[in-house]
């Protein structure tokens, strides 16, 4: 059963992802998503009764770090990635709570 992505849903998803899409892009995205959903529908045909959901394909667990500080002040390097910078901080448009 293939699903149809409504204009409202498309708008909502774009908004959550902070994307501004043109009409053309929206149509394309809708088609892409519908294809993805029909692929999921295909997967749903499989009987997965009694099978634990899998989030990692490696059978590895408990990868830890000891609680020791090894990073020093690398702020100049880090701040060189800032699209905009003021003094020692990343500069962003004003946000109010």
């Amino acid at each position: 059963m293939s699903q149809v992505i409504s204009d409202e849903l498309m708008e909502y998803i774009a908004n959550l992802a902070k994307l501004e899409l043109s009409e053309k892009e929206k149509e394309q995205a809708k088609k892409d998503m519908e294809r993805m959903l029909s692929y999921i529908d295909k997967l749903n045909e499989l009987d997965t009764e009694g099978i634990e959901p899998l989030s990692h394909i490696f059978s590895v667990n408990n990868v830890f770090r000891e609680d020791v500080v090894t990073n020093g002040d690398d702020s100049e390097n880090i701040l060189s990635n800032a699209p905009e910078r003021k003094d020692e901080a990343f500069k962003v448009p004003k946000t109010v709570e």
Binding site: S55, S75, N81, A89, K91
Partner: protein
């Protein structure tokens, strides 16, 4: 108000863990560094960087879970919570939704009508966000990522509380447990413990919950109590007017004693969680849990009992001494040096508390050393200084943690043991105050107090009042 209402409260409490490094990278968690000096590609969300979990975070979370009677989720995972905000450089927060590390616990609180258990739904591990500073001069905000990636646990209670008193009893108990575990300093003011209040009201007797709001920005017990009172009244008023309570997040303004809706958070509630692909599952063995249980330090209730038995401290005093881990630590360390528990207790309950109140500081901020308090107690015991000088010296220890022995020596505050000098001074006082002498001899025994005071003044406080008293009585 014609109808009777009941307030239903549940809490979400974020606690910053006392690890040395962040949750997923080896940057320092130290508070107060210059902006962005404790950052790396991981905690600033640079593409290609990978998180590696700090083992100590898991251990602290398990320890808090055990101390609050939770079940430990022995197979647990992290999930991604997606949202956009400038303090969140990855555009997602690594948190736990499906398999939080602790579940189904609870702690007992004391209420006026007896003991009550407040349920804990879950405790999960997550990372803190960066800090936004609003620039005063330009239309912009500045981001400091030093706090980004600092480990947090979020403790989610069940909606089991019915009043501000119950809320504060619960928060205080939880805070003491976590402080005693050493898992966090839990400072409300500095934000290492952040209490969000979920509150709804319903008609008394109703089984259905009303619509709830979430209140943020509560930085003290007082603010929590005031916010609960105000929000309860706001919701009841709406219902009485036939209006609806809107489910929303509100921010408390303690200066204005009112809250306002945080509209910015409104459409951000669809977080599209999914399992965190960059972190492998955590498997917690029975041995690991037992190991942590065995290492659990003495908690408040046990300490309270021990202080009464081992040091013979009265119940009331023991409660106050253990009301903060910091005070209990100072008490024990000082007692270990000078072996005078009662005296140490007196200094902590008397002068320390008085000065804390005067300076408006919390116990966690006390900075004097047990060594210097012990030295001061010894000076008094030896009779080297009297009580009033000791109080003056303590004020300086309290503020600057000076060595009292050196200080007393340097300032010449030691009691003058020269009896000849004392007798000479007392004779002068008797001569200069014939009226008081006459009163005393005429039966007004209280007049001696004035003469002692005058002698003390002449001796610049450096005399033993009981000795003055004795000599005065002999001379009169």
């Amino acid at each position: 108000m014609s109808k009777q209402y009941e307030t239903v409260i549940g809490l979400e409490i974020h606690v910053e863990l006392a690890t040395k490094t962040k949750i997923f990278c080896s940057c320092s968690t130290e508070f107060g560094g210059k902006p962005n000096t404790h950052t790396c590609p991981v905690c600033t969300g640079m593409p290609g960087s990978l998180p590696v979990l700090n083992k100590q975070v898991v251990e602290y979370a398990i320890a808090v879970g055990l101390a609050t009677n939770c079940e430990i989720t022995q197979y647990c995972k992290f999930d991604r919570k997606n949202y956009f905000y400038p303090d969140n450089p990855q555009n997602y927060q690594i948190s736990q939704l499906y398999l939080p590390i602790c579940r189904n616990g609870g702690i007992e609180i004391d209420t006026p009508s007896g003991k009550k258990t407040i349920g804990i739904r879950e405790i999960h591990m997550e990372e803190d966000a960066g800090k936004l500073i609003h620039d005063e001069w330009e239309e912009c905000s500045l981001v400091d990522f030093n706090r980004s990636g600092v480990p947090l646990i979020e403790i989610v209670s069940k909606p089991d509380m019915r009043s501000a008193e119950e809320v504060i009893a619960y928060v205080d108990k939880l805070r003491l447990i976590i402080q005693y575990l050493g898992a966090s300093d839990c400072k409300l003011q500095e934000g290492s413990m952040r209490v969000d209040v979920n509150l709804s009201v319903r008609e008394l007797g109703s089984k259905e919950f009303g619509t709830r709001t979430e209140m943020k920005n509560l930085n003290s017990y007082k603010a929590i109590a005031r916010a609960i009172e105000a929000e309860k009244n706001r919701q009841i008023e709406l219902l009485e007017e036939g209006k609806e309570v809107i489910q929303e997040t509100r921010r408390w303004d303690d200066n204005k004693e009112t809250s306002y809706s945080m509209r910015s958070k409104e459409d951000a509630h669809d977080y599209r969680y999914f399992p965190e692909p960059d972190l492998v599952p955590i498997v917690i063995s029975d041995e690991w849990i037992e190991n942590i249980r065995k290492r659990q330090p003495e908690l408040r209730e046990e300490k309270l009992k021990r202080y009464k038995e081992q040091f013979n401290i009265p119940d009331y005093d023991a409660k106050i001494l253990t009301s903060s881990k910091k005070i209990a630590d100072i008490f024990e360390a000082t007692t270990a040096i000078c072996n005078k528990p009662k005296k140490v207790s007196n200094w902590l309950m008397g002068e320390t508390m008085r000065l804390m109140k005067e300076e408006g500081i919390e116990a966690e901020e006390l900075s004097f050393s047990p060594e210097n308090l012990a030295k001061l107690i010894e000076l008094v015991e030896e009779g080297a200084i009297n009580n009033s000088v000791a109080k003056e010296v303590f004020e300086i220890i309290f503020k600057e943690d000076i060595d009292p022995k050196k200080y007393v020596e340097e300032k010449g505050l030691k009691i003058v043991k020269d009896e000849g000098l004392l007798i000479k001074t007392i004779k002068e006082v008797i001569e200069e105050n014939p009226k008081s002498v006459e009163d005393y001899r005429g039966g007004k025994k209280k007049a001696i107090g004035f003469l002692v005071g005058q002698t003390m003044k002449k001796m610049k406080g450096k005399a033993d009042p009981s000795m003055i008293n004795k000599i005065l009585k002999e001379l009169l």
